[in-house]
Every structure is written in C-alpha cells, then in structure tokens.
C-alpha cells in the first residue's frame, strides 16, 4: 500500500550512517602528499592549473578531509585496462 502522507525533515536525503566512500560504485579517492603531487606534475610536464578539477562540494570530497588545492588520486575500474588512475585538483 502506498502511504498517503509524507513527512520531510530538513536535511533528509543525506543518511550520515552510510559512508559513501565505501560504496561499491564510488571509486577509491586518496589525497596525494606534496611529494607525490610534485612527482605527478613533473612527469606530466604541467602545472597544477592544467589538472582537471573536482568541486569541493563533491559528495566524495565532502566526506574526506581536504582543502582547496589538494590533488585527489582516484582509482577507477576500467573496461580496457583493469584499473586506471585519475587525478583531480580540489577547487
């Protein structure tokens, strides 16, 4: 039976008891250390600005302890290569 009334609480929709980072469809997010960051940027021959961005209010980023300018290493599953790394700069 379909309930006839709904009650909406403020802030509902976000269930704090679930850790989204543990969810199977959320790829692994890691904050890179300064050193790792430097190695990455050097190997690609780019400055921080050329990295793709990720919003600071991205659900996964909100769950992590980051600050603007951090680089996040994301390990995604890949159909072609097994797993693959993506790097995002928090803005």
């Amino acid at each position: 039976m379909v309930p006839t009334t709904y009650t909406l609480k403020e802030g509902s929709g976000v269930d704090k008891s679930i850790d989204i980072l543990e969810h199977e469809t959320v790829p692994k997010h890691e904050v890179m250390t300064k050193k790792e960051k430097e190695v990455l940027l050097n190997s690609l021959g780019i400055t921080e600005k050329d990295l793709p961005k990720i919003a600071s209010d991205d659900p996964a980023i909100m769950e992590m302890n980051t600050k603007s300018g951090d680089v996040i290493k994301i390990t995604r599953k890949s159909e072609t290569a097994g797993h693959v790394f993506y790097y995002r700069r928090v803005v």
């Binding site: 780019i46 050329d50 890949s78 290569a81 993506y86």
Partner: protein, 845 residues
C-alpha cells in the same frame, strides 16, 4: 590577387553615426532607382558611386572594374531615430539599470573590503526604486516585442531612449561591461546603405531589371523616411508622424531580420517573403554554413557507382565523359615537352596557361598555333588518364575512410566503377548510390594522398583495429566452397581458376589439387595463425584441431593445414587472416591479397555454379511434424499462462504488473518455441547453397532460413506483442479481450508456405515499424554524432599518452585508459601471448 598587407586585428562592435558617415561615399536622398532613360539616379539606392555590378563599366568612386571594386557604402539620414531590432534586448537591459534622470547606473559600487563582501548579495537585490546618485524616483520599464518600450504605460520612443543613453557616463558603461561603443549607437540615426555589389540586380532576358531583396527593402526605407521628413517639415499632426515613424521602424527592422516574431513578414510582390540580412547568414544555406564552411568546388565529378570486381580496390573506373572534362595541370619543361606535345596532338589537353597567366581553351582552330608557341613555363591542363590519383568520397562523410585516394582508370559508359570490396568504408551499395570524385591539382596534394589516403593504407580501420576492407558476399561463398572439405581440382581446373582471376602463378607439378592447396598458393610463407571459423557450431566439447566440421583453421608457414576459410578468415571487419597479414606484409601485399582472393572466390562460384530455389527450403516429413508439435506446444503453454492469469494464479515477475508478467512470459514461451524450431531446421535441412551462404557468413542467417522454411514467429510493435487496432482486439474478427498468441501477431507459418491475410497484416505492421525506426534512428544518431565531433574536435593524444585539449589541459591521463592505439591493435587488444607463440612456431617450427 596579391596580398600586400596582413590583417593585424579585427574589432567587433557597433558603428557610430560618425563612422557610418566616414565610410559612406553617397548621401542617399531619393527612392528612385533609375531615371526615364534607364540610368541609375544619383543619390538613389543604386547610385553608380556605390560600386559596379555591370560588366564593362567602371566604378565612379574608385575607378575599379567588376571584381576590382568591392563597392562603397552610402548613408541615409533618418528623419527620426529608429531602434536597431537586433539589439532590443540590450536596449531593454540598459534602460532598466540606468537612472531616468541622471543616467547613472542604479547601484553604488562598494569599495575596498566591502566590495568582496557585498558582491554576492548585490546581484540578488532588485533594482532600487530611487537612484542612489540623484535620489530620482525610478519607473517601471516594460518591453513589448518586437521593438516597443513603455515606462508606466507611456511609450518611450527611440528619441527619448537615445537622449537617456547619451547621459550615461563612460565610467559607468565600463562597470556594466559595455564595450565597443556607446549605447546610443544602438538607436540608428544614420542608416548605412550597403554597396550594390552585395545586392546586385539581374537583367532578365526581356531587358527588364530584377532587383535584389535588399534593394527593394532599402527603397521602402528611403521612401517612407522621405515622407516622414516632409511631414515633419510641414508640421503635420503627431498621429501622422507616429504612423510614419512606426513604418520606418518596421521597414528597417525587416531589412535586418525578416523572421521577427510579432510583426508580419515583409513580402515580395509575388508573395514570397523577402530575405533580410539575418536570413542571408543564418542556417544551413546561409553564408556561414553554406558558403564558408561548405563550398562548391571545381575539378570534381559526381555520378552513380556500379561494381567491377576486376579492378583493384584502390582503383576507380572513371567514365570517359568525366575523364575528358576533368584536368590536371602539367608544368611544361624541357624534359616533358615532347610528351605534352604528343598529348596535344591526340587532343588530350583542354586548356593551356601562358607564362603571363592567361588561360586559353584549346580548340581545333588554335591548336596548331598553340602547339608551336608552347614551351617551358607554360602549363598544360591535360585530361585524366589511367594511374592519376583522385579522391573518392561518399556522403555522409562520417569518418576518415569516407574519403580515400583511388587510382583513375578510364572506362566506357557513364558510371564510376569500384571494386565491391571497397564498399564497407564508404558504406556504399549499388542500388543507385552516387559518389564524388575530386582530382588533385598540386603535386604536394597528390603525394600526400598517395602516402596517407590511398585505399591500401586504410584497410585496417583506426576505429577497431581490424580490416574494414575484406571479402564480401559471393567472394566469401566462393572461398568457402574452395577450401571446404573434399574440394578437389585437376591441374587444369586449378590453372583455369587462377587464369580467370588474372593471377599468374607457377603451380607445383601435381595431378590433383585440394582446395586448401590452391588457397595456400598465394599465402605469404611466414603466415601462422589459428582461429575458429564462422562455420563453428559452438559444440559443448570443442575438439579444436580435430574438429569434425573442419571449423578449426590452422595456417602454418603460409599453408592452410586444416579448416575452412570464411567470414572470420577473410571477411570485412572480421577477417583474422587480413588482420594478421597487416603485421607481416606491406600494405600493397594486403591489397593484392584482397584483390586476388576476391577474384578467386568469384571465379570459383562461376566454375561451380551458385543458385538457389524454393526446393532448397524443403524439409523432411519428420521435421515438419516436429516443428508443428513444437509450435503447438508453445501455443498450448501460453494458453496455460493465460488461464493462470485469468484465475489470478500467474507468477508475477518482479517490477511488473500482472499484465506485463503475462506478456513477458508468453513472449518467452513463444520465442523459445521458435528457437527450438530453428534447431530442428538447422539439423534437418539438406545442404544447399542457402546453407553455404549462412554458414560461410556471406549473407543471411539460420533465423532468416527458419522464417522462410518453417515459422516466422512473433511480430512485435515497440518490442511488445501487437496490441493496437480495434477496441480490445487487434482485428475486427477477433473476440474482444482474447489474449491467445494467434490474436496478437504470432505467425505460425513460414514464408514458403505462405501467411494468412491476418498474419501478413501483422508482418507488414512490423515491417513498417522497422522502416520508421531506421529513418528516425539515423537522423537522431547523425545529429548526436555531429554534436559529439564538434565538442571533441580539439582533443589530441599527446606523446606521453595523455589526452589534452587545445588549452593543454588534461582530459584523460591515459588515452582510452589502456593507452592502446586501436589502429595498431587487434580488435582493440594486443594478445602478446598468442602473437609470440604463433611467431615462434614459424621460426622454430
């Protein structure tokens, strides 16, 4: 034309009245075009100082002839200012945010630290009701399309708006980001009259002049403006002035854009809507998409294509009438002069270009004179001949292999001839398709085309790493029959096969040849490959090399040891052998492989004979019986389901209503019944040329055959059983609410036995849906692809494997995530293990 200077920069903005005046050479005062003698009126819209459009005449302003003089602007002094319709929105916005008294912007810009804080709150606020600068009370501005403004019910005329805009200080304009001019320039006071060169009139055969749409429009503007001016001068009553003013506004607006909403279209005398300036630029046939992004070109030809398996895949048969019209410039030197003179004598030169650049058509009369005077530094434009390189294209050009370089082969008749094996990249067939041919005019272009665009360099598709060109249809059937078990040939037959295909080989001295031996003759000696053929029956227990059906193909050291060659071996897109050849031989050799084996396949069919008839679809009595039983069983099964449904005992599937569950289960039961029939047909049908075609993968499938020989099965609309038609039934003779298969599009007969009229009707419904679907899908996917290509066109894979855009920003850290270049892969992957193994076998043995 010689370029003497370079454009350093271009500024886009709005023209000020001063600029209009500086640009202009004529002050237009008269709405007459020509006087009684037919000469253009000075001060009219066709004033001779505005440029030349008649051949032989010279410009009164610059003295240039046609093509030299680009035309000159004129101007018209408007009696009263008029709004530029293309900027109505901007005008409205500026009116809203500026003070009606002092002209300042209706905000105070905060300074210092406060600026940062207030920034976010400022844009949320509405416009204040009092000017923060002069405390003047503001009124509500209303904009009514297309070009009327009201302030508290009172109309604001262009004159008033202009006055207000004049008061806006420069520094305020900077703040609101208004660059490239003054806002009052959005209200026209001087109206530029474009040069006649952009609105040429045409002289009809009757000697009558037909003017361009823009000229007509300009005449209207000038005429109404004239009468407005006269009325202003004599002090006519305001309502008359307003009417005329409105009319000038209308004419100028439609001159700019004749598709404005809210005003009637300006029409030609014939009733055809006139083309405004916007219409000239906009849309598919507009200046941008029609003339700049896409142009008509010279040295090209278009005609119907037809097949010719005797020419190479990188050749194109060019009909004689086309070949005699298209030319290639040949630069005359001391070395080639004799050859060119010979061409001359055989009338193969259409034009010559003298050292001074004059182009002369070669005719019978001047041929002799030209022959004596021709020498180095002349250019002879000679006709197309065999071996010339030309680009061949079929629209829609969706990928790079939609245009490739072919060698010209001049042939009789009137169609372009191409090898049927080159059809897949163009997605061409011969049901009336037309294709375009472009003849390259410079040596650089020809070399580039030869090295990059020749068909032989594009056999391996960059999109999936397999051959996009291979054998097809009869060629596959032929090769299949040649290499299948038991095919045996005498030496004479074998030689005949090669001779028919135009191949010159030395056959070993042997009496009997198997088909596999004949196939091996042309294989490169270092070819090693092993794969399952298309004919593979997918047995549960694969015996691999001992396959009883000869479907395990082994080629060792260029010798076909076992297995039958079919679609998976040599077909377009699938052909494993072609894919492997590309690793071990040159592109020329792959091309020869496809050419030769294609011809051998066809010759084989010609020798053996290949045909099919209705009787090929005959099934044994026993099979008919089992098929009937299978179908009746599945119909019975669905009746059982219907009974359960009626009694509400039916198993309801997750996420579905009872009705949906019933439908899904009925469809399932029937489909499995039909598939069992397919198995029966596959097992009991006698070997025929039909079965050759589908086992080899040349054309058709077991499903097609089953539909012909036994049962068509369920006809569907939108993936569901047929539901539409009459109230609660599909056809009038059916009992309402009947759910049985026979009432909802299940066809239990085959095409050979024939369908009942009702079954045929359902079959046609399904067929029509297929047609609609196809046309809708191609249109939709075409547009999707266009948007995708436009969005991704600046992406590039760099040397470090990253994908970056034009700003050098990284989009993907590893191209395709695996850094594999599909054009250098085997169907998207690199199987190192297999590659090394097979190669080792070739070397070690």
């Amino acid at each position: 034309m010689i370029m003497t200077s370079k454009i350093s920069d271009i500024v886009f903005g709005i023209m000020s009245p001063q600029q209009v005046k500086i640009l202009a050479r004529v002050r237009v005062v008269s709405s007459d075009l020509y006087d009684a003698d037919g000469y253009p009126v000075e001060g009219g819209v066709m004033d001779p100082r505005l440029g030349v459009i008649d051949p032989g005449l010279h410009c009164r302003t610059c003295g240039g002839g046609i093509g030299e003089c680009m035309g000159h602007f004129g101007y018209l002094e408007l009696a009263k200012p008029v709004i530029n319709v293309l900027y109505v929105k901007t005008i409205y916005q500026i009116l809203k945010i500026t003070c009606r008294k002092c002209g300042r912007i209706l905000t105070v810009a905060p300074e210092g630290d406060a600026a940062k804080k207030k920034k976010k709150t400022a844009d949320k606020k509405t416009i204040p009701s009092r000017c923060p600068h002069c405390r003047g009370q503001q009124k509500k501005i209303l904009f009514v399309k297309p070009y009327t403004y009201y302030e508290d019910k009172n109309e604001l005329n262009p004159e008033m708006i202009r006055e207000r805009f004049e008061k806006i200080p420069e520094r305020d304009l900077k703040k609101i980001g208004f660059r490239g001019g003054r806002p009052e320039w959005l209200i026209l006071t001087l109206f530029p009259i474009p040069p006649v060169t952009m609105r040429p009139s045409i002289t009809l055969e009757s000697g009558e002049r037909s003017e361009d749409d823009l000229t007509h429009k300009l005449v209207d503007v000038v005429r109404i403006n004239q009468s407005l001016k006269e009325n202003v001068d004599i002090g006519a009553p305001e309502f008359i002035l307003n009417d005329l003013w409105e009319l000038v506004q209308y004419h100028i607006s439609t001159y700019f854009d004749n598709e404005l909403t809210g005003i009637p279209l300006a029409r030609h005398r014939s009733g055809r809507p006139l083309k405004g300036l916007v219409q000239r630029l906009k849309a598919k046939e507009g200046r941008i998409r029609g003339n700049l992004l896409g142009k008509r070109v010279n040295f090209s030809a278009r005609t119907v294509i037809s097949p010719d398996p005797k020419i190479s895949i990188n050749e194109v048969g060019v009909p004689v009438p086309v070949a005699t019209e298209l030319t290639i410039p040949e630069y005359v030197t001391d070395i080639n002069i004799r050859g060119i003179k010979d061409l001359f004598k055989s009338e193969k030169v259409n034009y010559v270009v003298r050292p001074d650049g004059r182009r002369i058509k070669v005719t019978l009369e001047n041929k002799k004179d030209l022959l004596t005077s021709i020498g180095p530094d002349w250019i002879a434009e000679r006709q197309l001949r065999d071996g010339d390189i030309a680009l061949f294209n079929r629209q829609p050009s969706l990928h790079r292999v939609s245009i490739m370089a072919h060698r010209v082969k001049v042939m009789p008749y009137k169609t372009f001839r191409m090898n049927p094996s080159s059809c897949p990249p163009y997605n061409a067939d011969f049901d009336g398709d037309e294709m375009n041919l472009h003849v390259l005019q410079t040596q650089e272009a020809r070399v580039e085309a030869d090295f990059l665009m020749d068909v032989k360099h594009n056999i391996i598709s960059p999109k999936f790493g397999g051959p996009i060109i291979g054998l097809d249809l009869d060629q596959i059937s032929g090769v299949y029959l040649l290499t299948s078990k038991g095919a045996s040939f005498t030496k004479e037959e074998a030689s005949q096969l090669f001779a028919d295909s135009g191949i010159d080989v030395d056959l070993p001295d042997k009496e009997k040849f198997t088909g596999k031996e004949i196939f091996s003759v042309l294989l490169p000696k270092n070819l090693n490959i092993e794969f399952k053929a298309h004919a593979c029956r997918k047995c549960d227990d694969c015996k691999k090399r001992d396959c009883p059906y000869d479907c395990w193909v082994t080629i060792e050291k260029g010798e076909l040891k076992r297995g039958v060659i079919d679609k998976t071996g040599v077909g377009a897109e699938k052909g494993k052998i072609i894919g492997r050849l590309h690793r071990i031989v040159s592109n020329d050799e792959i091309m020869d492989f496809i050419n030769n084996y294609g011809r051998i396949g066809v010759s084989m069919l010609m020798k053996r004979g290949f045909s099919l008839g209705i009787s090929d679809l005959d099934l044994p009595e026993q099979a008919h019986k089992t098929i009937k039983e299978e179908i009746e069983d599945s119909v019975k099964e669905s009746h059982k389901l219907i009974n359960q449904y009626n009694k509400k005992e039916l198993k309801i599937l997750p996420g579905m209503t009872p009705e949906e569950s019933l439908e899904a289960q009925i469809m399932n039961v029937l489909a499995s019944g039909v598939s069992r029939v397919g198995d029966v047909v596959g097992k009991s049908m006698k070997k025929s040329d039909i079965s050759v075609m589908f086992t080899a993968g040349a054309k058709g499938s077991l499903i097609n055959t089953t539909q012909m020989a036994a049962v068509v099965g369920q006809e569907t609309i939108l993936g569901k059983r047929i539901k539409r038609g009459y109230l609660n039934r599909t056809l009038p003779h059916i009992v309402p609410h009947d759910l049985s298969p026979g009432s909802h599009g299940f066809v239990k007969r085959g095409f050979k036995d024939g369908l009942t009229p009702f079954e045929l009707f359902w079959n046609i419904m399904n067929g029509r849906e297929g047609l609609m679907d196809k046309s809708l899908r191609t249109r939709k996917s075409g547009y999707m692809q266009r948007r995708l290509v436009n969005a991704l066109q600046d992406l590039k894979v760099h040397h470090d494997g990253t994908v970056r855009n034009a700003h050098n920003q990284i989009v993907q850290f590893a191209a395709g995530e695996d850094k594999i270049d599909p054009s250098k892969s085997d169907w998207g992957t690199v199987d190192w293990k297999e590659f090394i193994e097979t190669q080792l076998k070739g070397i070690v043995g």
